[in-house]
Assembly symmetry: C2
């Protein structure tokens, strides 16, 4: 009990000192502890009213005129520019639309086409979320490349003059391991190949630094740490100096230089818009745009600092409340190798997660034996972390 | 003036006798005449309240649980089955998601893969909405096929043992010409090839009869006659007996037999779900699902009958109110060749459309000289048609 009193007190102090604590009021939350924001971010409180305007006035009253008057047509690149600073990208390089899978396909095929003659192998992160591997396989098949799946640690030694492109995940969705984006990007470049980074589990949780590290292409979803809503559209980053060579396998009319010219010949538009395909899904897209306002005035560095303190503190509480050996932490303890989630392995993980959810602590279960707890610094506090660890200890006891 | 009195009276009588007239109350409309529902359908009145529930309760309160409890996960195939009867498809063959362009790509690549050895040419409707041609070009390039763009009338003579797949538009977006789906489908099949129909401008306006005519694959958007909202997700039809051979170029995790198994090997799910790719855009998708309720109890045959009477009547009014030769109708007069729009060619079409819109008659302008008027029988009546023609006559005078 002394541990418990001391940790609860520490949590209180940490929350009191947390400069980001007030951001929680920007979200709709309940009495539970929501540690699944790395799967679906919580609802920003102002989004429903904003969507009422989109539905009743923009669609209901202005109808077709909204493509111009409500800025629907330019939403993909405008929202891309809103996401850009969160991933360390200057303007004009990010465009929003389609799903992550579709963007992985665009990026990887385009990367192979840019890699040039004789480069006929794609390397893919074997530990990545499976869709990236499935799509990489299709991209390889359709570009006449071979595909090899390797762990990120094995990638540098596997690079060579045949390597066309490498698809890597910034943070492993299962273990929460953060990969070394600067070093891996440099290694890929040293081999003369292009790198595509999947930022699904890092954007909005930690600094990415796309421009600073010279990343070629990147994709990511917006419904996790960016809180864009269920299945909100993904984004595609193409570095400025590569955009003229970006040759999309999905050259829909939205990427045409004159989309309303109705020209039978395809002439790609310059810039990030070249990553667009068909008509953007405006409702999902404008919910995302509204949701991104919670980031106004928020520094990603501050988010990262809080995230690390939060996950450190959660692990400390888990150690205090749980019998030694009952769970094994599969998330790296070193800060430079940790994303914003904690993954704990335990034998009966599926059942344990059910009981946690019944008690208001919402994480998720990843087959076969992983409990995943996502820490979203915009709305998760230290008392939440202490409570989650305490309930976990009770459930495991 | 006698013409005008007589036509206004006829409009009144036609509206009074119109069994579909009451459906107008299911939509948000204003005092103008909206003849652009073939570009963006009007807002069904109940959609904003439904979306408030999706936002505040399903996302805001249930959050991640909604993937199961609110039926988010099964939305693509459930909504596909809701669209199916509108296009003459039995259940289990239609799946909703992605844009029309992305679905054209899936359908065309899969069709080529099903066509078999030695079939290395794709034929595409040269008069189609340009995106279909751009995407067909990419599909040809990535499958090692040649591509030929021909008018639908030229297709039958061009078919041969090398033809793999043919991409056709059911209704020409510009002229409103309805193509002969049964005859063209039969011709493609006689040549041993597969046909992909684009239903963007026919679904919801006239009977399509996919199953009855043995169509192989079809795609379409949902934001025109289906009123799903701006950029609402498109759909893909794959005929039941072809589904096992449907080999998608976009094999995202949503099309895996065990999407949550996180298996590194891709095993496609059977059925229509095989056309899924990434996480569905739930907000846009559930707005569409709600919007489709306006079809409850509505017969597509009745819609078609009203559409033809409406466009006939509009053309009669245009002839009465407009100086001969001032406009030229590019929409076929024969019913079996007409969709649900009327396209009029006139020299100063861009300016004419601006003035029409200023006077509350909303159609659209298609480069270089076409005025397009879409007639959506669910909410456009005969008085609307008479008024639109009258204002057009005044603007042209």
């Amino acid at each position: 009990m002394s541990d418990r009193t001391e940790l609860a007190l520490r949590a209180k102090e940490l929350d009191a000192a947390d400069a980001l604590a007030g951001l929680r009021d920007r979200f709709v939350l309940d009495q539970g502890v929501y540690l699944d924001g790395n799967s679906l971010g919580a609802l920003p409180a102002h989004v429903p009213d904003r969507m009422r305007d989109v539905l009743t006035r923009q669609w209901g009253e202005l109808r077709i005129r909204s493509w111009d008057e409500s800025g629907w047509w330019t939403a993909p690149e405008r929202i891309g520019d809103r996401i850009a600073p969160l991933i360390g990208a200057g303007p004009g390089q990010v465009v929003v639309g389609d799903s992550t899978s579709v963007n992985v396909y665009k990026a990887l095929v385009a990367a192979v086409r840019m890699a040039g003659e004789g480069r006929t192998e794609i390397l893919v992160d074997a530990t990545t979320f499976p869709t990236d591997g499935y799509i990489a396989n299709s991209a390889a098949r359709m570009t006449g490349c071979t595909l090899r799946a390797l762990t990120p640690a094995e990638i540098p030694a596997a690079l060579g003059p045949r390597t066309a492109a490498v698809l890597l995940n910034h943070v492993d969705y299962r273990t929460g391991r953060l990969h070394d984006l600067p070093a891996l990007t440099a290694a890929v470049h040293d081999a003369g190949a292009l790198v595509v980074w999947d930022l699904c589990h890092s954007a909005g949780a930690l600094p990415v630094g796309l421009d600073a590290h010279g990343v070629d292409l990147a994709v990511g979803c917006t419904y996790k740490y960016l809180n864009g809503g269920p299945g909100s559209p993904a984004y595609l980053y193409v570095r400025s100096d590569l955009q003229d060579r970006f040759d999309s396998p999905l050259p829909g009319w939205n990427s045409h230089a004159e989309p309303f010219g109705m020209n039978p010949e395809y002439t790609p538009v310059p810039g990030a818009r070249r990553g667009r395909v068909g008509t953007p899904d405006i409702l999902s897209m404008l919910a995302l745009e509204a949701a991104l306002e919670v980031w106004d005035g928020v520094s990603v560095d501050a988010v990262r600092a809080k995230s690390l303190t939060l996950t450190d503190f959660f692990l400390e509480c888990v150690a205090a409340y749980t019998e030694p050996g009952r769970v094994e932490c599969v998330t790296p303890l070193r800060h430079e190798e940790r994303g914003s989630q904690v993954a704990l392995r335990c034998a009966d993980a599926g059942d344990v997660m059910k009981r946690l959810i019944d008690r208001g602590v919402v994480g998720d279960f990843r087959h076969p034996d992983v409990l995943r707890f996502g820490f979203t610094p915009l709305y998760v506090g230290f008392a939440d972390a202490e409570r989650a660890a305490r309930v976990l200890g009770e459930v495991l006891a």
